[in-house]
Symmetry: C2
Subunit: 333 residues, 2 copies
Amino acid sequence: MNSNPTAATLLNRDDLIVVTGAGGFIAGALVKYFADQGFTRIRAVDKKPLRQWYQRVPGVESLSLDLSYRDNCKRACEGAVEVYNLAADMGGMGFIERFRIECLRSILINTHMIEAAYRAGAERYFFSSSACAYNTELQKDPNVRALKESDAYPAMAERGYGWEKLMSEMFCQEYWAERGLKTAIARFHNVYGPFGTWDGGREKAPAALCRKAIEAQETGQYEITIWGDGHQTRSFMYIDDCTLGIDMIMHCDDLIATPINLGSSELVSINELVSLIAEIAGIELERKYDLDAPRGVAGRNSDNTFIGFNLNASIGDVLTDCVCRNHGPNLGT
Amino acid sequence: MNSNPTAATLLNRDDLIVVTGAGGFIAGALVKYFADQGFTRIRAVDKKPLRQWYQRVPGVESLSLDLSYRDNCKRACEGAVEVYNLAADMGGMGFIERFRIECLRSILINTHMIEAAYRAGAERYFFSSSACAYNTELQKDPNVRALKESDAYPAMAERGYGWEKLMSEMFCQEYWAERGLKTAIARFHNVYGPFGTWDGGREKAPAALCRKAIEAQETGQYEITIWGDGHQTRSFMYIDDCTLGIDMIMHCDDLIATPINLGSSELVSINELVSLIAEIAGIELERKYDLDAPRGVAGRNSDNTFIGFNLNASIGDVLTDCVCRNHGPNLGT
């Protein structure tokens, strides 16, 4: 099915794969993804104490290390053949609009990790960037045109969080240009699915809205508070598509050091998302709009032309339509 | 004369002032500037071994510390009332076009230093940014219009070096916004003067060209190699104006967390600079042009409207015309 090079076709099963941020949502799923393919030496790293990891995969070396420290990055990368760096201090809009310093300080993680990976002799290095790296001026209309990769420059990224992503992308580009380290850069667009953060202040819109719907069911108070006017639009990518996409981007030599969108291209408004959640829950929700709450840009979508061109066409199509595939109903019209 | 608030008018003479990068050109002069005003507790910090510092000032606590390490920044900031962070891995175009990773990695210094200054309870924090933070698209013509502060965004900074400066500016802005640390940000435009780096690969154009003229005198081979076609333009600021400007910007409450130009507004081409140097040396030089050498942007000048507006007008004028004042002949037409 998938004719693109992947870890399964390129690596030995006992090559050491390092995944950071593994106590969280996406990187945790990535560890599971590699373990399911029979890789026997996976090192999972996260700042959180092990008992707080969203998922733990048996047989995986799991380390609790704060990767904003140089020595910890060195330890994390020892013997690595491939490094997937997804560690960051981040969250949904509620977090990144409030804790900009913390978001900026993730630059410590990325600066130390790429140097440690390089020094450890790793063959490939993956960095998880974000759609927040895009110029926010292009995202002021809910009926936004989809963002293509070149839209990041000239830059006016999401304050704090987005700029850190852009800067870390540059590190990846310069380590390739100056030192020949094969780096891969994916700009994630709103990933959702099992083990996604759903409370505590770092959750993103889909999980937060699901939680609110469940709370409505449990309390019998069929109200839901929506941040903003609900007209803001996004695209949403299911976690399994994200892990597959990471693998393909990491092993595509045409994409070395080249930031690329990884997301669905199907635009959905927050109001539409609420309707869908309510329908699945079998309830009707009275909507209240908190216009003072963080809401991010007005509209954002992923243009997947470039990834379709660079990866095998059929797989490109799969990624393009990932939300619609087999993970749930079509969220759009 | 100077009615703007300065360290001399605001601080006690025994308040601890920390200056980083003090083994180099500008920060070394800044240490001297404060010592000359009678400050009794100055801490000078640089990565270089003490014997390699460009100047050492008697009575100053001088520490050799690598500030890309968190603990060293903590030590550097202990007890500080004011922190002037000028430490960076940098140089002229010959350095910053070749060592982009090193330039990017200065983000470690700035990330650790501002956090350490904040935790130490410092009252004010100064960051030395650069004209390299400006959008390079606006600097493609030697007859460039002068750059005003808002021209940095949307951003297309100098690759490597310029982006790091922009990101570190953002840290300063967010520490003020989120934590109330009074930060000051000056974008330096080509500083020259005594103790400037003049060889070894990190020197900038004025010192490099002076060195080449002296070499021509000494060898009797009256040739000079110029990087690029010599039509590229810059403005140049004498070091004494830079130190005065740093002091005034640091203590101007209207400029907190606000990037501001610190430079001359007099545009000079590299060819004009060579003519001036040859005239002072009393020699004639045959010019050879190395069109493959690093040359940076085509043109760059400093628009000083904003600093003139925010600082006392007469001092604003002084800064505007700093090169022409009393440090040498008028470099322009």
